[in-house]
């Protein structure tokens, strides 16, 4: 199961979930998280479903570059960090 770890900066606004998912790609994993935590979606993605400009995601130590399709592949034990980018500070 891939593990999604959301920045604790979100704790000011909501309970921050820890999510485990069998999704095969990033989009599927995020959708799994949002299914149980619908308000989280608007903090990570914009209304077009794209990654917010000042949110950054790392998968197994690699920063993702695809911000619209969010189709980076996950492997069963992927660790996915969803973080705030310093650019938004």
């Amino acid at each position: 199961m891939a593990q999604l770890i959301f920045t604790q900066q979100l704790a000011r606004f909501m309970d921050v979930p820890q999510v485990e998912t069998s999704a095969a790609d990033l989009r599927g994993a995020l959708d799994a998280a949002f299914a149980d935590h619908p308000r989280l979606r608007g903090y990570v993605l914009d209304e077009q479903g794209h990654l917010r400009e000042n949110v950054v995601i790392f998968i197994d130590g690699q920063r993702t570059r695809e911000r619209k399709l969010l189709n980076d592949a996950l492997v069963p034990h992927s660790k996915v960090y969803i973080l705030q980018a310093l650019s938004g500070g």
Partner: protein
């Protein structure tokens, strides 16, 4: 008499209140977060606060009357951009730039103006929103352009107290637009404005005008005032025609205007150095007021900083209370001042607040 007001800042929402002696800073909300707009809804006592979180997007919070709790409600959301669209603007909400309550016969109706230049309507106190596509789809929108921000935005929403279906909006830079049918159709309302930043042959083009702020007199709704990028304009026919006011002292540049609630001939301005410098005219803060429809002005300075003052009062940084005598002003460098005599003398609320985006009376 007004006894409470709200100050939306780069680092939170601040309340001020009046005792028998003076006004004081009171509670804070959303400390640390940018509060881009505050709407006290006079119809039911609800307070709305629009946030623009640096990382996590624009949000809208609602506080019900008598409650201490804020509830996050929906934000305006743009529809999916058609694949064949040639629109260079991203259809994503950048910021809630203006909020207005619908008419008294429209409980729960709210209007929101956004960056980019969308007008949104809610029928349920912000629980849901829909884009007013009739305005978003006007062909002239392709000529709108950013003014202060990279994208065009709607900063002024003037609901006509005589007819809640009649709403005039101001756009930087997209001129002024009026609907008389609740948003079904729109007509341009910037005739007479002059855009001196455009090539001469385009200077009168209505859809490229940059009205920094437009306000409507509640008791004389046909009377509108506009602080434009290139000067001051007024209209006495609900925006059908605009006339330039050329008698304002110190500077005709600025961002803000306020109109007396019961006297459409009286309006206030805060002159600034034009136009790329953007600080208080001559580095000394003044408020100018006309009481005769712009024929003459008085510049007031009492209680305001007069040396090394680089404060700028932005579009929503000046409010007038219902009685027309109490004014609240907030600057981009965190100065807040209040006058109880129509602008003649000012009391300092603070000079160390965060940059101020909006002020409003409860």
């Amino acid at each position: 008499m007004a006894d409470r007001a709200y100050i939306g800042t780069r680092k939170g929402l601040f309340e001020i209140y009046r005792t028998h002696e003076a006004w004081h800073l009171d509670r804070q909300h959303f400390l640390g977060d940018p509060v881009t707009m505050v709407l006290p809804d006079r119809r039911d006592g609800t307070l709305y606060a629009a946030l623009n979180l640096g990382h996590f997007g624009a949000k809208l919070h609602r506080r019900d009357p008598g409650s201490e709790q804020w509830t996050e409600v929906a934000v305006p959301a743009f529809p999916v951009k058609p694949q064949d669209s040639t629109d260079p603007v991203e259809w994503t909400l950048k910021q809630i730039w203006s909020l207005a309550a619908g008419g008294p016969d429209q409980p729960g109706v709210l209007w929101a103006g956004t960056l980019p230049g969308g007008l949104f309507r809610s029928n349920d106190r912000g629980d849901s929103w829909h884009l007013v596509e009739s305005l978003w789809n006007v062909p002239e929108r392709s000529q709108w352009m950013g003014g202060g921000y990279d994208v065009p935005g709607i900063h002024s929403i003037c609901v006509d107290p005589r007819n809640s279906k009649s709403v005039l909006v101001g756009i930087s830079c997209g001129g002024a637009w009026l609907t008389n049918d609740g948003g079904e159709s729109w007509s341009m309302r910037a005739k007479g404005m002059l855009a001196r930043y455009m090539p001469p042959e385009l200077a009168e083009t209505q859809q490229v005008q940059d009205p920094h702020r437009i306000v409507r007199c509640p008791s004389e709704p046909d009377k509108l005032w506009c602080q434009h990028h290139n000067g001051i304009w007024r209209s006495v026919d609900n925006g059908a025609n605009w006339t330039e006011v050329i008698s304002a002292p110190l500077s005709n540049f600025g961002f803000v205007t306020a109109v007396h609630p019961s006297d459409g001939e009286t309006a206030w301005f805060v002159p600034a150095e034009a136009d790329s410098k953007r600080y208080a005219a001559h580095a000394a803060l003044a408020v100018t007021r006309t009481t005769d429809g712009g024929k003459t002005f008085t510049a007031w300075r009492g209680g305001l900083p007069q040396q090394h003052c680089y404060d700028l009062v932005y579009r929503h940084g000046l409010a007038v209370s219902d009685c027309g005598q109490i004014l609240l002003m907030g600057s981009t460098t965190g100065g807040a001042w209040l006058s109880e005599d129509g602008g003649g003398q000012w009391q300092t609320i603070s000079t160390t607040l965060p940059p101020i985006y909006s002020v409003s009376f409860a």
